[in-house]
Amino acid sequence: MSDLNVGDAIPELKVTPDKYLPHRYAGASGDFNPIHIDPEFAKAVGLPSTILHGLYMMGLVARSATDVAGGDPKALKRLLVQFRGMGAPETEIAVTGTVKSVGDGKAVIDVVAAQGENQTIRNAEAEIQL
């Protein structure tokens, strides 16, 4: 996609992680923190139940930004995120974004990942090569 303009919205990515997604992400990533896979443990430390891995949601943001660049993994040059809310399994995640700048064969996209009103990732900045 080389016809990106400042202010353009990127295609929305919608994903609903199933109940066991945090288990599979734990296995794939090596992060077995029990707050992601053990509801009793999560409740004992004051959480409503198990929560998604922040880096899984960052993975979805990376996927969305890579798609904008045409899908080649090496097009994503930089990704900065702030984790600002907890994500829950079995709830739809919507990744949305707006093109912030375009130039020198690169684009910077402002990205948000949210479950309804709950913005789990915001102030994310993805730099892609066009």
Binding site: V15, L21, R24, Y25, G27, A28, S29, G30, D31, V45, G54, L55, Y56, M58, G59, L60, A62, R63, T66, G71, D72, P73, K74, L76, K77, R78, L79, L80, V81, Q82, F83
Partner: protein, 146 residues
């Protein structure tokens, strides 16, 4: 209570990770990537890669092990019960491919207090077997009520 800052600038021993084709595929499937360059050697080569290529965020798999000893270091003194992962940045260089041997070092960049919270910022740098930088990570952990 105030945060301890003597660990700022400290570096920890490097860890080495050998990237494997099936591990790349496992990670790619979990985040919902279906590009064949993450699964199929011929497709990856046709796209100009040395071998099956890892998705950018696969960097957590090979770089996080270097961070473990840093986060658990008593000199850093983070209270895990009150810790959240506040922010993350990655800057990618050379793509990581199956067969690569990636060495990661971790360093404490900053420890400071703001609004009653402790901020612990670490940097990881990951180089491949040719000495090319694959990714630089900046990891920010926030501890409430320090």
């Amino acid at each position: 209570m105030t945060v301890k800052t003597e660990a700022v600038g400290k570096e920890w021993p490097a860890t080495t990770y050998e990237v494997g084709k099936e591990k790349i595929g496992e990670y790619a499937r979990v985040v919902g990537l279906d590009n064949s360059v993450h699964f199929d050697r011929e497709a990856a080569k046709a796209a100009g890669y040395r071998d099956v290529v890892a998705p950018p965020m696969f960097c957590v798999v090979y770089s996080a092990p270097a961070l473990g000893p840093a986060m658990f270091d008593p000199e850093v003194g983070m209270n895990f019960a009150a810790m959240v992962h506040g922010g993350q940045e990655f800057e990618w260089g050379e793509p990581a491919c199956s067969g690569d041997e990636i060495t990661t070092t971790a360093k404490c960049l900053e420890i400071f207090e703001k609004d009653g919270k402790g901020f612990y910022v670490f940097e990881t740098r990951s180089l491949n077997q040719d000495g090319a930088e694959v990714v630089k990570g900046t990891w920010t952990n926030i501890v409430r009520g320090v």
